[in-house]
């Protein structure tokens, strides 16, 4: 019996050793093997996120022109599918096979920065701070970590869109839309009363972005704790709770994620939504009966800034080519060409004077693009990148409880902050 016991323990220990226990973590000891200022030659890999097949020609054109400019360089382009990108990056990072240049949004880059897997591009390429807009660079600066960990690639923000036909029908004017939450709630009541509750103006729960816009600090300055359980935040939730109780929002805002708002707007059940600057143009194809009725206005408060960027692996074997490639893809001319194809805005200072973005052709679609472009000057990242999916889900759930009246707003906020802090430090 005893021998059997010893054998069992040995077997389990052996299996555990084989399993690797999952505690090893990524290898963070690697350092750049090349100098950033060397010759741009050799192979370099570029990973993008779901750009094939829609933008294959564009990306391939950028790569071809890079290889033409640097005849000794060869780019290996990897495009990963939209779903499961975080898991793909995770497996590459933990397996030590992160491509030389990778498209990482700021929240994806942060855990890699914490493990020392990404290059401080401001150190390797000091000009980066002069050539890219501050908002874009801020996305790749993290509390507690010196440096900039990605070249901002492209930017976006939100614009308010109003269904002018519905607003007129129910006694409102889309040319003077609400500019604050209080005005929005007041107009939502008008729409509800005059439509007999068949049409809504509001159809989404508040998020951390709304709290930021109400002046609530989401995190402490050192990024080590959450602080959004303030009376001001509770007052915002209370306003939404009262609006929900007055049936100014459909019931399914309690469970519908943000896309639900756009769906209801598309079906003309809701008269207000938020989207990027190119929304009306895409509606012209996707929903041609709705498109002519839509009018844009600037987002409430400080517009949110959404950033995508290219990060360079710290363990790249070809640093000069990696930096040159990241710079090339994010250059003003290449970003401008991309922005002509899709709803994005360039992150380079040189693009600020491009009339394509700053001048409207007088149509609502042109106005929306200009509103979005001008909004970028004030736009900020309103939700800290430390907020993980699990935190965002929990916050969303707590806000739903508060709005539905299941929990007092302050308690919902206290619970949300406690859970976020636990997840941040756990």
């Amino acid at each position: 019996m005893r021998i059997h016991g010893i054998k069992l323990v040995a077997a389990v220990a052996g299996l555990a050793a084989l399993a690797g226990c999952g505690l090893g973590g990524a290898d963070t000891s690697s350092t750049p093997t090349a100098n950033a200022t060397g010759a741009v030659t050799g192979k370099v890999s570029l990973q993008t996120w779901a750009l094939k097949p829609k933008f294959t020609d564009y990306v391939q054109g950028v790569i071809d022109s890079f290889e033409k400019k640097y005849p000794g360089a060869q780019v290996e382009w990897l495009d990963q599918p939209g779903d499961g990108y975080a898991e793909k990056v995770l497996s590459q990072a933990s397996g030590g096979s992160l491509p030389d240049v990778t498209n990482l949004p700021p929240d994806f880059a942060l855990p890699l920065v914490k493990q020392g897997l990404l290059l401080d591009v401001a150190k390797a390429d000091p000009k980066v701070t002069e050539e890219y807009v501050a908002g874009g660079l801020d996305g790749y600066k993290y509390a507690g970590y010196d440096g900039v960990y990605g070249y901002p690639w492209y930017l976006n923000t939100d614009v308010n869109y109003w269904n002018s036909e519905l607003l007129s029908k129910y006694g409102l004017d889309a040319k003077t839309p609400p500019t604050t939450l209080d005005e929005l709630i007041a107009q939502a009541k008008t729409v509800k009363d005059k439509s007999g509750g068949k049409v809504y103006l509001m159809s989404r729960k508040p998020t951390l972005i709304d709290l930021t816009n109400a002046g609530v600090p989401i995190m402490a300055a050192d990024g080590k704790s959450f602080t959004f359980n303030t009376p001001e935040a509770a007052a915002v939730l209370d306003k939404y709770r009262d609006a929900f109780k007055d049936k100014l929002m459909p019931r399914d805002v309690l469970t519908t994620k943000y896309a639900g708002n756009a769906q209801l707007f598309n079906s003309q059940t809701v008269a207000w939504t938020t989207a990027g600057g190119n929304y009306i143009t895409s509606l012209t194809t996707d929903n041609p009966t709705l498109a002519p009725k839509v009018l844009p206005s600037q987002a409430f408060g400080t517009p949110p800034l959404y950033v995508q960027g290219l990060s360079v692996s710290k363990s790249t074997k070809n640093l000069p080519a990696a930096i040159a490639l990241a710079r090339w893809v994010t250059s003003a001319e290449n970003q401008a060409a991309f922005a002509h194809l899709v709803n994005i805005f360039p992150s380079t200072k040189a693009s600020a004077s491009d009339p394509f973005f700053s001048k409207s052709d007088g149509t609502p679609s042109g106005d929306a693009k200009v509103i979005a472009f001008n909004s970028l000057a004030q736009a900020k990242i309103l939700q800290p990148v430390q907020v993980t999916q699990a935190m965002a889900d929990f916050v969303d759930q707590q806000f739903a409880l508060a709005i539905n009246g299941d929990e007092p707003s302050q308690k919902a906020l206290d619970d949300a902050v406690a859970k976020c802090n636990q997840l941040l430090n756990g």
């Binding site: 555990a16 690797g20 995770l90 399914d252 699990a390 889900d393 759930q397 299941d406 756990g426």
Partner: protein, 290 residues
């Protein structure tokens, strides 16, 4: 001519054994080990003893998920054990056109769980077919919150599971019914037993082992439910996240670059323990009755 090689049986079981060890045993052991750590997907973690397990005691999400999973099992278990048996007895009859009903009852089984849940979502939505028809016919003055009320959402998901599972378990019962002796039915009928009496005294004892097997399968499935609740709640876990199942909770904590693998592993160990419980109980019941 016959050579007795000692390793021949080992060689024969080797592929299956390697598969089991690599894809079952090692991940299971790894999960148990991770449950005692604060591991993250990147950077590993440290041993924190029972920290994740004590954290469970103070986790309202877990309490809700456990309640949901247990309610799910308690309702699904009797419904999916008995209703498919009744259906099997009905469609077993050799009647003209009975094949149509067999196919109709089985169709939900072959449909994708995700597609079916999406269709149910559209049916049960505030502006969906059921609420729309009920309001138009004057049965309701406003929509019933099938998808936005904690308990209605849970019961909607349970209804979906039962509807989808009926055909599957019906087929299993049909094969078991084929082994119930005709002579016993005839003898009972001669003795004056009616259809109900024959059902309880001949049919049910004849398929008792199958019932136990099905009970185990349903218990395990109900405790591990994911798709129905996930899709009907749009991935949010219902209002306030109170319709999450244990598996949804594990997914919430385990996913992404910043996943909390230690806590997700501890939840997985708990799910294993909760799932094994009813299985052992039913196995014991079976042994006792045998």
């Amino acid at each position: 001519m016959t050579h007795k090689r000692w390793f021949t049986p080992w060689l024969l079981i080797a592929p299956a054994a390697v598969w089991l060890v690599v894809f079952n045993a090692l991940p299971a052991i790894n999960t148990v080990i991770l449950s005692f750590t604060n591991a993250k997907p990147l950077g590993g973690g440290q041993f924190i003893g029972l920290g994740n397990y004590t954290r469970m005691l103070d986790d309202q999400q877990l309490v809700d998920a456990l309640i949901n999973s247990i309610v799910y099992m308690l309702i699904c278990l009797p419904l999916l054990t008995l209703l498919p048996l009744l259906l099997a007895v009905l469609v077993e009859k050799k009647l003209r056109g009975i094949a149509f009903f067999r196919i109709a009852f089985y169709t939900p089984v072959i449909a994708s769980a995700v597609v079916v849940a999406l269709i149910w979502g559209w049916l049960l939505d505030d502006r969906g077919l059921i609420n729309g028809m009920a309001e138009r016919l004057g049965f309701l003055s406003g929509p019933l919150p099938f998808l936005t009320d904690r308990w209605l959402l849970l019961f909607s998901a349970i209804s979906l599971t039962v509807w989808k599972g009926l055909g599957y378990y019906m087929i299993i019962y049909m094969s078991a019914l084929g082994n119930v002796s005709r002579e016993l039915h005839e003898a009972a009928a001669v003795d004056g037993a009616g259809p109900v009496r024959r059902f309880f005294s001949v049919t049910v004892p004849g398929v008792r082992n199958t019932m136990l097997l099905i009970s185990v399968l349903i218990s395990v499935f109900a405790l591990r439910v994911f798709s129905e609740l996930y899709i009907l709640s749009n991935g949010t876990g219902g209002p306030g996240g109170r319709d999450m199942s244990l598996v949804m909770l594990i997914q919430l904590y385990g996913q992404g670059l910043t996943g909390h693998l230690g806590y997700a592993s501890a939840l997985s160990v708990l799910l294993f323990a909760v799932t094994v419980g009813p299985m052992l109980f039913l196995a014991r019941l079976n042994r006792k009755e045998s």
